[in-house]
Amino acid sequence: MRFRARVEVQLRPGIADPEGATIERALPALGFAGVQHVRAGRSFSFEVDAPDEGAARTTATELADRLLANPVIEQSRLELEAI
């Protein structure tokens, strides 16, 4: 089976996010009011061949933890769908 994985990587809560803060500071000048707690991150997508969803999830999680995110400062969230 083939699965499409989408991994979202963000800084952990409590880790300063200068990129998110800079975006947030720009919002009032653009006329956006009432927007707060902006956090920047990145998103990756890839496809995994695996016998079942559990195996695909294991592979994608390991890939996210070992490479896509730096666990010291970042956390990742995985979405998986069969295609």
Binding site: I15, P18, L68, N70
Partner: protein, 226 residues
């Protein structure tokens, strides 16, 4: 005989020749080591120099950690060999978990390229053994991701174990505890954001980096004699 200082070249590294020249000014012999090699060619110390290893894709240092030579660097460090990561090299060492913490984007998102005033915080490392605590050194920084970050527990351990080797006098990048450089527990692995090789001759505006490089060459000599 002058000790052999191995200088690792990843695709995108750009400070290797500066480090070789400065290491030679400090009494060593520079040896370039390609990142695809699996052996260190009997060097007595290893420097991971600055630049943009593997284009800094994903995160600075994230892909360099998987270069073949890193396994040999890891073994060399484990056996007590002196290993120093400068700037991008520091980022590689944290990504490879040879040093704790991470270097994230500078506070205020500024690329910084300027002389930095540093204060020696510990002499218990292969890079600072020739200095005294409190010595002030002016050495250039040149980075976008030099903002040292770690959790509270790690910071307390670094402080308690005397592993913060250099601090900024005026913390230009927002690093936790103004950290400019740290060491591992044994003091043989050191990472720092400032570039001592760019402060290795009066012609460059400062010779303050030489005391650090001489310390490293001294550690390499001791390793060669052992």
């Amino acid at each position: 005989m002058a000790p052999r200082i191995g200088v690792v070249v990843f695709p995108g590294t750009n400070c290797e020749h500066d480090v070789v020249q400065a290491a030679e000014a400090a009494g060593g012999t520079g040896v370039l080591l390609w990142h695809g090699a699996t052996r260190l060619e009997s060097v007595d110390a290893v420097v991971l120099p600055g630049g943009f290893a593997h284009g800094d894709y994903l995160r600075p240092g994230a892909l360099a950690r998987f270069s073949p030579i890193m396994e040999a660097v890891r073994d060399f460090a484990r056996s007590g060999g002196p290993v120093v990561g400068i700037c991008n090299g520091f980022q590689v060492l944290t990504e490879a978990a040879l040093l704790p913490g991470a270097l994230q984007k500078n506070g205020r998102l500024r690329f910084l390229c300027q002389p930095a005033r540093l204060v020696v915080a510990s002499t218990a490392s292969v890079l600072t053994s020739g200095t005294r605590v409190g010595d002030e050194l002016v050495i250039p920084i040149n980075h976008f991701s030099g903002n040292y970050t770690c959790d509270d527990e790690t910071l307390q351990r670094l402080q308690a174990e005397d592993r913060i080797v250099l601090r900024y006098a005026d913390n230009p990048n927002g690093s936790v505890d103004a950290i400019a450089g740290i060491a591992n527990g044994a003091g043989n692995v050191v990472g720092l954001m400032p570039h001592p090789e760019r402060a290795s001759s009066a012609l460059l505006g400062s010779e303050d980096g030489l005391v650090l490089l001489r310390s490293l060459v001294g550690a390499a000599s001791a390793r060669a004699a052992a």
